[in-house]
Symmetry: D2
Subunit: 332 residues, 4 copies
């Protein structure tokens, strides 16, 4: 950690700060430049709150010498993490299509979708049982029953499954789930993250609506620092002023994250855009940006043909999208 002091700081102020820092058991090296004095802090700086230090009257800026994320940091772990989900690998050059309905509705619905997306090239089945909804009056998902239908469909179609958790107490219920998803709204539910760090199962961690990439990595760190090293990061759009799309898909996140971390990065164009007609081009763009996987909402209910305009693709639309995504993968 280095602290750049403001110009014109007095020797007494520098000495006071040094004394305080030494009391925290870190060594202090002072470089007096022509313009500015810079303090380098050596040792266990974990006791030094960088926000507090930067808040001091005499400090202009604090810079961390090492990134605050350690387990997720590519510098200390140069090779890509490859996550193996029942034989289907994600990361390190391995790409997966994840597909399925927003919500699990009936055993037939989820099985039909499972078989259809598998036929089109998806190797992992998604489906929501516990749904985080802005309103308490909206449908909250089928809960444990939905989870049961999803697991049965996954078994019948021989597809590993991913589904979202919202409550620490539900963890035992997710024993047979292959990948546990943490949704955008819970990205900084640190208590949940810590508990998920204690189990052995891949965690799909979605970026929060207004969270920076650094905060996403720090949330991955909450999981990893407890032991669980299998974290898949997911870009799913951030909140901006633009209203044509539900959120703004930040595809730069893919190469930035690949530079900063060894963890796999996937993209969810369905939730990001909120419109089916945008999913195909954003799935292709995300693939071209270097994502390790794409997660797409697909539903299959002929009696709801009305819903074609929503964010879910029909199985036929998904088939075409999957083909185009695969062609982009071949180019890379």
């Amino acid at each position: 950690m280095i602290a750049i002091l403001k110009p014109g700081v007095s020797e007494t102020q520098i000495e006071n700060l040094k004394t305080w820092l030494l009391s925290k058991n870190v060594d202090v090296h002072i470089s007096r430049g022509k313009f500015q004095t810079v303090m380098g802090l050596v040792g266990d700086t974990s006791k030094i709150d960088s926000d507090l230090l930067e808040g001091l009257d005499i400090v202009e800026a604090v810079r961390l010498v090492s990134d605050p994320f350690k387990s997720a940091n590519r510098k200390f772990h140069p090779d890509d993490t490859v996550i193996d989900v029942r034989g289907h690998k994600i990361g390190g050059g391995n790409f997966q299509l994840i597909a399925g309905p927003c919500s699990v509705e009936t055993p037939e619905q989820i099985l039909t979708v499972a078989e259809s997306v598998k036929a089109s090239g998806a190797n992992i089945l998604r489906g929501g049982a516990f749904k985080p909804r802005t309103s308490p009056y909206d449908f909250q998902g089928l809960g444990e029953t939905g989870l049961k239908y999803l697991l049965e469909a996954g078994k019948a179609a021989d597809l590993p499954v991913v589904t979202e958790i919202m409550n620490i107490e539900h963890i035992p219920m997710f024993d047979d789930v292959d990948i546990i998803q943490v949704g955008a709204r819970n990205m900084q539910n640190f208590e949940l993250l810590k508990e998920l760090g204690k189990i052995e199962k891949p965690i799909l961690l979605k970026r929060g609506l207004a969270n920076t990439l650094k905060e996403l990595l720090m949330s991955a760190e909450y999981i990893m620092s407890e032991g669980n090293q299998e974290v898949i990061l997911c870009e799913r759009g951030i909140r901006t002023f633009e209203t044509f799309t539900r959120n703004t898909l930040d595809l730069s996140a893919v190469p930035v994250l690949h530079d900063l971390t060894h963890l796999p990065v996937i993209v969810d164009p369905s939730h990001a855009t909120g419109h089916a007609y945008l999913v195909e081009s954003m799935a292709m763009a995300g693939t071209a940006a270097g994502a390790d996987g794409i997660m797409i909402e697909v539903h299959n209910d002929p009696s709801k043909a009305l819903c074609d305009g929503a964010q879910s693709l029909t199985p036929e639309q998904f088939r075409r999208t999957a083909q185009k995504v695969m062609k982009i993968r071949e180019v890379l």
Copy 2:
């Protein structure tokens, strides 16, 4: 709920949509205008997912006739909710200053601050025991011990206390706390909100960094729909592109919320701005905007005189700020 159809929609499409809606057990009234057809849905529309409806190819827009928030809605509860915290009232013309340190550190520290802020006019003591931190390596608060120190200081100084909860399992630990705070990061931790709705204790609900006022009200609704009607809303800054302040304090939120809801609204200028030198003017501005209370960080540690630049006020700074805030209150 009304659905405005796109221009040029065919009669067949209209009939199909109507049939589907009728199957959801709502009545459908159709107004055919010169330009656009508008469908009015009557009955229990809670089974109709407005997002899905709006996503249909033939629907241009969906408008809710009633606001999605019911318990919090001023229309159904015109009088201000007044929350009584051991004799100190908030809302309905009653104003409270809430003050205390960011973190509880020692029994002496929290008691000294408690007595000092009380002498300056604060009637509620704040102090963090469980701290949500971006990094798992940062200080996470004293936890249960901190809670004990806070409660002891509150008792000794005869001040009710408010402190943050992060985990459903901790609820029993908060039995003697007077107001339970839900932090910005947990504003959409719906599972936590639902549990807090089952207890009888005021909840101070902070607006999330990137959450709209409507979402804030929907989160209050999660608490209220479970039974607990005592929710205090708190504006504490939203995330924008500006970097001179930690967040952008959105003071328009105060009159907007007073218009939409009967719940009290307070302002936290310390977390919003992140700089002590901005707290006084923003506390005054928040008061002038009509807030029912102001929450300010105050610390008292002569050995850390270095920290004056951080976001906490010294007791002396708080005394001056409290006086100015009270003068503004007199004008209103």
Copy 3:
């Protein structure tokens, strides 16, 4: 234009509003639904200020029946506009690589870059002569001299050129420029747009840092409504809270704009990301998203090998990026 009135509006209020609207010479059709009354306005509604109408106490919302953009609207002009720049076509399935340095520095520099990017597949040369800089003390470009060097290099390398204009009075100076660029900061400099609408030359209109896609189309409309129909839209990143990239490249803009307008849409990954290491993946992603062109900064100054980390690519990096972009094009 339709106005949805608030529930509970009285007949007198409706009559008053109708009288006022009739006085503006529009016809008014009233549909009284079970819940809400909807007014349809017929005739020349251009005299009705929709903002003012929506601001009325009794109006809940105003919806425009026709989009506010007319010339740019795909509904009235279903076929893609194809812009021919000295034989190089953009739009309607035609894709162009535009490349060149941020600033024109010397005749040698711009010619070297021109020849090098042409060899790698670029068909249009970019280069800044007038530079909009946040600070008046920063380098503002070579001005008219830079323009001269750029035109000479374009002629020597047989490449059409694109360069930015900042001042109405400079228009005559741009007589020999092939495409005139309007930068992000001038996207709503309506006086400049109107003047550029009076000339016959393609205009490359960049999206403003905080402008919606609708506003971008309305700015195109300022140009087109004066006569000039050759507008190329350019997504170059919007301002968000994320700081790892200079701006957040909004690639969803490409398919959204293709849906709304017949105008060509290109992507500038260099300015959007601000980092050379992100340009290649974002150029590929933009191409996969369906852009009609990609604009990339390339510089060529062996003595400044130091600068490799900046947002400009070296000619060799550009060569590789161009190859990958072309491979993605082949897939589409």
Copy 4:
């Protein structure tokens, strides 16, 4: 300017960078710390592009020793700038209410409003003649005629006037205007700013929708560096994700700007919120935050009583708001 180099940079790289910097005619002082090497650049650093420097592979960060704004900087000009508009002072403890209609419509309308707002305590009259509108099809203001009506009303009511300019060529037309306003959309129309720097007349510079406070100061600097030192800064809301208000009024801007600059700072609650019912509380909050003036839209057209819900206040509403604002001023 200081450049903090990345850890692990080689001596050769440091020497190369030093050689390049020396070629730019600045002196270079190198401080080698235990962790990081810091370069201090002395002399005329205006030739060094800090963006380019920061983009170098070996540079971690560049920090400017002096703020990039010089004329506007409080450090070099500690006393508040007081702007005298025909005897009405703004800044340095002097507060002004500015009021008037959004657009000048008729001689009678502007005169009636002028007399009415003067009676309520306003000392400066605002009114738009040239209106920047998102759509080319919307009313663009009365132009030169509107300017004439405004000036006549100002003369008749003995009030100085402020009105917006959009085009350099219009400057001579504004000869008799007391304060020239630069709107949010033109805040970075640098060519216009430079020309306004060459005249002797106060400039009211509005913050752009997505511009940082530093960028606002740099735009003031464009005016001041050309000679004109009379700049009034105006906070009028920034673009965020919240939709209940047109923009988010950033009142922290007032104390932040007072800290950074000696220029007066006013607040425009009408444009920021877009709703009349929010103007009073935000005018009071802006005053409590320390603004040197408040600018409010007022219209007076009994035949348009319908419009009460829009962002303009009626004269009676303005009278009440002015009284409350003045009471807040007395407290300060």
